[in-house]
Assembly symmetry: D2
Homo-oligomer: 348 residues x 4
């Protein structure tokens, strides 16, 4: 722990992830939000864009350059493909850069080309990045200068399946992740699918088997399993604001018992502050994690079909985005990991 | 087609399924709702219990005995275990009895014992029942006197998977049905899980691997596949009023192509009035079937993982309950199958 | 009643009002939807824009000219200011034109200028229009060729207050209409206020005292009261899809009793098919009218403050728009008034 | 400010208000939650009743006697009529008692008799109580031992109307408060009106002119206005979890200008931490205050009808209940008033 007050900046503060970062960082005792930027609202007070911040902050959206120049820690919450240069500049100036987007999540450029359609202009900078899922890679994150904050679906799916894969409990030939997300996952941008009268009272899947979080999930789970893992991943959109529920399915390997499974999950997570494990048959609910950084996981075994069902619930904007980014900052800078992240989820 | 106006009765009219039956049957040109019954509201006008019916009906809830005595066709929408005697009485008097509950769905009494904890007091009457999923068993339904109306989850799941199983397209060793249901599926009874502040903004699974619709799904799909089928079935509760979305997953068998799959589904459903098939990558949405008797099905193939993903959407109260019951009546009595069931789903 | 099948067309079919018209008109036994038009989706099948119509209609959106040329009855559901020419053309060709928009609602051009910022290019055609609120102006509507379909808020407010004003029961110096509307009132157009994550779990007023429905309400109520009426009208947006609840407040005049009030409302509405009156203290709920053409009205008297509280509930898309337009067509053409409008509101 | 850590207890912790108190108090730096009680769940861990608290607290519900015996500050969140004895005991032992219920809100026992149907068994203890709306009665609250925490509707309505009444800006003969509340206002108790499928997609008024918050509103506003005030108060239920929107209407007095109004509101609230004033035509939204202790107020003048429209928005569970109770504790004990109450409302 150190006593310095870090100057923190947010690039892309008017997107949903950026805004949530702003809200959570305001309560952090060891940092000061020094600069914020927004392309769409440059020169405009953030509280004018988001009236929930009225009388709370009079900060004005500036340029990303101003953010980088005047801050020690830079969070970027931008669409894919815009962060390479920012990251490089920060790296060269020894600033901590945390990307909430996808630019540094995939290690293999071929994956990036296939799923995002872009290339790595600066291959060196990508090698400096660490994948910021603390429950899996905490040690690698410490002291790092460039952190790729995981996606929301990926966080939920990876945390649900890692203990099973790590311990060789399931048949890796057929893994299904049926995921459900609230509307904030689609962000601030208007669209037909998030028009109120269309989404309200609706529920549907989308991007079946082609969602960009797939290569990220497979990259991480392959590492955990130490073998090539593929996942059938299908996202669904829910008529709620927040939350991801990831229902994951796989066949248990022969001779694996319920005790083996529960023991593996407990060993993996019992020391984790942000993971709460249900092993008594109750099912996790996004209701119980919203506005918090918790990942609730319930482990179920369908003995009839010898299937492991693991369900994880996170708040997509917190553990799935801004909260985890702060968790990563805390680790990288040596703060207590749950600083500014001890929000108790409201029951309603 | 015949010209007789049938006298129809509803036992258990104040439950959600009974009420929906009442609403839909009111528009049927060849029947007259002659009697309705409710244990809880005997002697009370239905429109007093449900003000949406104000000025529309002045019918009063009576006893189930009155319903049976005064009607030719009897629908029962009751909790499990209450219909055996009613069915027997109707059968002996040559009346058509359609059970929206579970009493006659399972052919094997052992299954009933295991999943419902009851016995078949009168084994003969169970042998007279037909399972009323018209798209699979239309011919058997014609002229029958005792019809077991399928469950809501089962309707969605069976319609999603039958063409694949019928045509031997998928590996039957690991089939997953991740299903999502609106709140009306839990009925009129108050409960913590359907308390507004609890369900609203929530989403969770429940009864993982132990839901009573499981033996029904497996019985029907085994028949379709002509082999023993097990399914990992996990229901989830959504914060919407109506709708079931069934996302079904299975590995494609070797050499099965996308064309094989689409061809099988088209062959199975192209002549079905109430099934609408999406084969172009778009995903079905419960939004688009609500208040209608349609079952929308979208077929997807995840080539990377060689997985068939079939998603079906129904309105749980219509195709999943009251609408399908009327469809069954229409078939049994020789009416045009879509009589009183041509509701166009509203877009919002 | 006549036996002709009328050819009907919808201009602006892809807006929410146009689409609802299409859905309801499909069930009308004496008309045929002959042509539909959409500027935004010309040449595209309607069912491609709205998948709820899949397999139900293969009609293609054409031009408004095609609609007018090929139909006897033309409905237009367009933004303000676009219908004058269409109406004139139809009038000259003796076709029935029903405008679901605002172009012909205001008799006084000065009002139109003030509230809509436009002028009446063709003053004669405006004189041919009748204001289509059947419960108030049924006789004038019969046989008319140009009908101005009322707004949604105005329908609810006018029906709530007319009996009181007609019978001189309230102090006209201070009338408040606090109205709440579902999101479909804002239509298909994307906007920040109807972005799911913004509206969901929200509620706010908007356009306080400046909403365009104000002059319409005052014009009609002044006619009913036979004196100049002003109303303090404040609309609010609800996180539901459908429904308007109009809570109207005014001081009772001296010596007016509860019996006077109830008697006036009963006299006014007891013969009206689409108005359902609650006089027993229960409050109307938008839940109980949705997807129907009913207007439910509950009359309350706060004796402590000598205040009349009248609350009306309609489905903004049906009685507040498409349903009422069909009601007007039925009257104008001599059909039974409730043809194609006998939908029973579902309880859930 | 003092340095003592106060031992705090919550009687009725498993109700919604009690639970919200628990959640908020957990973050208070100068107190320790020492005991909690629940009649319904005595002996059971709170986190078992509310899984959102899993791994956060292992406190067990005990008896109210245990709470009083072991705490310095006692909050009670109980149905009406149960707090007199608790309050007396606490008063005699010089403990601070804050009643979130209605037992001490009404000064006049006759009002209590009329609206609550009970009597004041111990009239002396009622005289010790102060009405805990800090923005109006801050000085009286300081150092008090018995605080009546206001109702949710009353907080919103009183804060909306006080500046106008204090400054004689409006005609007091006809004041309307049209209020809308989220479902948590009805609490944890199951009921038909808060059954999901009934409330979802619904909106209705209830208890028109007879809600128990009326005498409380009138008592306080009469004090503020220094004359007898009556209000026509109509509550409505919204299909959202949290929030109250109070839309208040009254005629402006002659010669009162917009500047007079805005000046009065600014003077009244510019120094208030928890009141945020909108004077630029924008309307407050419950969305922007949820999960916070803010009361947002927008002031509108309808010049056409010379009507003042003031709309206030609060989170019914925070400023309308638990948050305000903590604000009162802070004032009574001399803490900084916003301690543990600086939550930033999330934008979504």
């Amino acid at each position: 722990m150190n006593n310095k007050i870090y100057k923190v900046g947010i690039i892309g503060v008017t997107g949903y992830a950026g805004l949530e970062l702003f809200r959570l960082l305001k309560t952090h005792p060891f940092i000061k939000i020094n600069k914020i930027s927004s392309e769409s609202f440059k020169g405009i007070p953030l509280s004018q864009v988001y009236p929930n911040l009225k009388d709370i902050s009079d900060m004005i959206c500036e340029s990303s350059e101003e953010v980088i120049k005047n801050c020690d820690v830079i969070f970027a919450a931008l669409p894919a493909g815009l962060c390479e240069d920012f990251a490089k500049t920060c790296y060269e100036q020894d600033k901590l850069f945390i990307d909430l987007g996808a630019d540094f999540r995939l290690e293999d450029e071929e994956d990036y080309k296939q799923w995002y359609g872009g290339t790595y202009k600066n291959k060196d900078i990508h090698k400096k990045a660490v994948y910021g899922l603390p429950e899996l890679f905490r040690e690698e994150i410490k002291g790092k200068k460039l952190i790729a904050n995981p996606g929301c679906y990926t966080t939920a799916t990876e945390l649900a399946l890692s203990p099973a894969l790590k311990n060789n409990l399931i048949d890796t030939r057929f893994i299904v992740a049926d995921c459900k997300s609230g509307a904030t996952g689609a962000g601030r941008k208007l669209s037909d699918t998030t028009h109120f009268a269309k989404l309200n009272e609706g529920c549907s899947a989308y991007k079946v088997g082609v969602h960009r979080h797939i290569p990220e999930i497979e990259q991480v789970l392959s590492k955990v399993a130490n073998s090539d893992i593929t996942v059938t991943f299908v996202p669904h959109l829910l008529s709620v604001n927040r939350g991801i529920l990831a229902s994951c399915y796989a066949k248990l390997n022969d001779n694996v018992t319920k005790e083996d499974v529960l023991s593996a999950y407990h060993k993996f997570y019992d020391d984790e502050y942000f993971v709460r494990l249900y092993d008594d048959g109750r099912c996790v609910d996004i209701h119980d994690v919203k506005y918090s950084n918790y990942c609730d996981i319930s482990v179920h075994i369908d003995e009839r079909t010898r299937t492991l069902v693991v369900i994880s619930a996170i708040d997509n904007m917190v553990k799935g985005s801004a909260g985890q980014a702060i968790q990563n900052m805390n680790i990288a800078l040596g703060f207590c990991e749950n600083t500014a992240l001890q929000m108790i989820p409201p029951a309603f």
